[in-house]
Symmetry: C2
Subunit: 254 residues, 2 copies
């Protein structure tokens, strides 16, 4: 009598003993279906964020922590950035840039030109509440690397004759480190770097960025393109002719 | 001497003979990497569409035909619709609906309330150029089924006291069949069904829908929510307080 026969005999004698053992494979199958559905739900959540369908949120869903980590370290994230920057490039090339120097491309900084992935990797990829003291420490290190497809786009639109305005929620006291970091990462000769001043304290990103775009337009500039990883970089008033939303499932800024 | 040894011996004698045989596995690996990257590129293209990053397009990329078909028939599409409609529902519930009957939820019709998937399934899931004569024939059959998460949302916002306005690019000559189809699919007691009239001929969807939303707002209504599968349902002027973009990688309407 081999092991299986012995086991089945024991089962006949005591169903109580066997039930948990027999159910294991079924549970295992169910779990794998659940896992697949959970993966699709996390993917759906991420895409809903990219499409501006989500209400404000302050950390990623608990059930999507692994998904977001995997995504951020994957070829998928790189490809998604490539595609959006390629689309922006195609659009930029289709524009006849005026010779009056008034055509502008606006870039956000964090998660648009510079990647804070090393910081977020140390802080749960968006699964922890935002800690501005810790994040400021990271920013002051000034070691963020370029988001490569954005660097390529940056150079291309510069080449095409667009003025480059950087519009960031970083505060004025980080101007110097931001300049140094951007230059270290390969960004050069932008035309303006606009940061949050004292007077912008407490404003939402949508309000702050809309006001700054209005001021830019009031000077006579035409904002042709705008690249940002947050919808709050792109919406509100005085929006760009075309906007390009770069992928970012790690955090949300209103 | 077994087969492998004989084979290796022959290889030593004639490398020319063996090279194609030896390379096969490598080619196979390369293809599979290419396939994975292609899948990610198609996924990235779809998400870029959902995030309104794409220039106008008239058919899906050739390389993504299988991807779009698989997606449209998958649990992923269902889950994506669920998530967006759930978000809309949460938002609707958070609104204090006025007792003046002026709070409105706007729904688009095709690929928002009604699914034309059987038609698109017969026409390459968006890989063929749009054929308005064939599509009209399908519409006139009046057999499109409800997009279930939208039907659930529709009933919920109705229950909450919102006025329901349907705003569609379908033309006035399809009013009767549209009404019959909507009722057959379970949609009841909407407050208005706005279709394209003679005077709207030649307008982009963005222009047509913006004008209609303006007219609605000019009457004193507040457009609180707006559900659509096209960005042209949602952007332009007189936009809703919150908009909800339902997944649709099959076609693009300006």
């Amino acid at each position: 009598m081999n092991f299986l026969s012995t086991f089945l005999l024991v089962c006949l004698i005591s169903t109580t003993l066997c039930v948990p053992i027999i159910e294991l494979p079924e549970e295992s199958v169910d779990n794998s279906i659940d896992d697949d559905v959970q993966l699709l739900r996390c993917s759906g959540w991420r895409v809903a964020g990219e499409a501006n369908n989500l209400s404000p949120w302050n950390k990623i869903p608990e059930s999507c922590v692994d998904y977001v980590q995997d995504y951020m370290l994957s070829r998928s994230y790189e490809i998604d950035l490539d595609i959006v920057c390629d689309e922006a490039m195609e659009f930029a090339k289709s524009v006849v840039v005026g010779d009056d120097g008034l055509d502008v491309w606006v870039f956000d900084v964090d998660e648009t030109l510079l990647s804070n992935l090393p910081y977020y990797g140390q802080h749960g990829y968006g699964s922890e509440l935002f800690d501005n003291i810790q994040f400021d420490k990271w920013v002051l290190e000034g070691v963020a690397q370029a988001i490569k497809p954005s660097l390529k786009l940056y150079k291309e639109v510069q080449q095409l004759g667009f003025k480059i305005f950087l519009l960031t929620g970083r505060t004025e006291n980080k101007r110097e480190i931001t300049i140094n970091n951007l230059i270290m990462a390969g960004f050069e000769n932008w035309d303006r770097l606009i940061l949050r001043g004292e007077e912008d304290h407490g404003k939402t990103a949508v309000a702050f960025k809309s006001e700054k775009r209005k001021a830019i337009m009031d000077e006579g500039f035409r904002i042709i393109g705008n690249s940002g990883d947050q919808w709050s970089d792109l919406i509100g008033s005085h929006v760009s002719m075309r906007s390009f939303k770069l992928s970012n499932p790690m955090y949300f800024i209103s």
